[in-house]
Amino acid sequence: MRISASSIPASTAPPSDTVAPASPRSLLGRPRLAGLGPHASDALISALSVLSIIGAWYIGSWTMSERVLPAPHIVAEVLYQAMRSGEIWLDIGITLGRILIAFTIAMTVAATLGFAMGLSHGASVFFRVWIVCFITIPALVIMLTCYMVVGLNDKAAILGAAIPIIPILAINIRDGVKGIDPKLLGMAKAFRASRYQRIFEIVAPQIAPILLASARFGLGLIWKMVLFAELLGRGDGIGYKIEFYYQMFNMKEVLAHALSFLVVMLFIEVAILGTLEKRIFRWRSQ
């Protein structure tokens, strides 16, 4: 096992701990092209967006040698072969499993903390220092500490990936909980709505978009964290494979593995979170 930080190339540095804009509204504002139906124009813009990314990649690959930045079709071919032979699926499965467990842990803890801080002034003051500390400690240090304390195993990898994003998500959720409209709660109280009604018909519809935005943001962060934790101290998974091929200067494989996960995450984003979003915001899309 390699745990030396010096073997980590600069390009795989952990993602910076920035707080995402948690506003769910901004995710929904869809600009429309004049003359086209909303769906047609959305699809057109999405297609243009994908093409522009691939185009930029091609331009980059022409200006550099193929060993540094291979063209998209070469990477796609490598990925296709890896999927055909089936070896990549095991790594995808392993990494995905770690992501899901780490994500569940992070969301649960962050939601608990976020609710506590949003609802209780005491808790908010108490956890403020914790949050600031953990947001400041680099993810790398947290992961190395986890490997040292827990051992070089999956538990440590998962904890190391989950802990760095908990404070960020907790802050997002806290701000959302603070934004619950007290006037609607007052209305429910005036009409003597039951506790059940207050929770499920007043609070939950306001919390759901916050949790969804945090889940989205958290998922985006955590898969990078898991990859990084695998690269640091695991012998399997996509992160390990990327590191392995990087050591062999095989950029085709590095990019193919990264691409495989991009596809998986895109699927989760569009198919699962997108569907959830539509359900939650049915009333807004009318």
């Binding site: 609607l184 007052g186 429910a188 109280k189 005036a190 003597r192 709505a193 009604q197 018909e201 807004r284």
Partner: protein, 264 residues
């Protein structure tokens, strides 16, 4: 015995954690009989909404006594007493349709589900929103939202109906129609009504008594104008009503610290 009795109510906001404190109400005395319609008028910020919140049981951090037929509001609610509130803002749930919003109140008041459809249809007809039952609040104009909020309050057939400037966002004809609907409901159920208004004619048209509040801090009831002399059903063209509304405006002017204003 009066139904609603408020005596020597004092309400102070803030003062905690170094925030500045503001005495919104001081020494408010008000007794309301069952089935009476009482209007509250007063300058902006004098504590009208604050007073309504206390009667609604939303605010229990005040000094003084407030009872409903000798018991606390919690005891009365537990015994099946119903209070409805038309807030100054519509306060509709944006994720529910107009129908869903009215049903929310019906559910809260534990009406059987089988009655919901009829009841919602009836009140929406009353406020002329039948065609908009399946619309979401954001698809309605401000006045329509206000009417939906009025429908929600009417739907539960309350014992006490509190209304905070319920018709202020509406054009005069719609407002007249809704005032009439309100009086129809009132004559059918003898609901006690306590409302806030900024419109002297509206208050005179609806109320049995009008309470004039003075400027804050420490807003309180300065003068009472009785409408007992004006026969129901009333008309906006009634000379008596017009005279009374002039008296109300006069009282408002005297107690708002703007006695120098010349009345037209």
């Amino acid at each position: 015995m009066s139904q609603i009795v408020l005596s020597n109510i004092r309400k102070e906001f803030g003062g905690r954690r170094g925030a500045r404190s503001w005495t919104a109400l001081n020494g408010v005395d008000l007794s309301i009989e069952v089935g009476e319609i009482v209007g509250i008028l007063g300058p902006s910020g004098c504590g009208k909404s604050t007073l309504l919140n206390i009667v609604a049981g939303l605010d229990n951090k005040y000094e003084g006594q407030f009872t409903i037929q000798g018991k606390t509001i919690e005891q009365q609610i537990a015994a099946g007493f119903r209070v409805a509130y038309v807030f100054q803002e519509a306060r509709l749930l944006p994720w529910k349709t107009v129908r869903g919003n009215v049903e929310f109140a019906l559910k809260a008041s534990q009406f059987p589900v089988s009655e919901w459809r009829d009841r919602v249809d009836r009140v929406l007809e009353l406020v002329e929103l039948t065609k908009f039952a399946e619309f979401y609040p954001q698809q309605l104009s401000g006045g329509m939202q206000q009417r939906a909020s009025i429908a929600r309050a009417f739907a539960i057939e309350p014992d006490i109906l509190l209304m905070d400037e319920p018709f202020s966002a509406l054009d005069e004809m719609t407002a007249r129609h809704l005032r009439q609907s309100l009086l129809n409901i009132w004559s059918a159920f003898r609901t006690t009504i306590l409302f806030v208004s900024h419109n002297a004619i509206e208050a005179s048209f609806l109320a049995d008594r009008i309470m004039i509040m003075g400027n804050g801090p420490g807003g309180t009831i300065r003068e009472e104008v009785s409408m007992a002399g004006v026969q129901r059903p009333r008309s906006y063209e009634d000379g008596d009503l017009f005279e009374k509304s002039k008296a109300v405006v006069n009282a408002l002017r005297n107690h708002s610290g703007r006695a120098d204003l010349v009345l037209a």
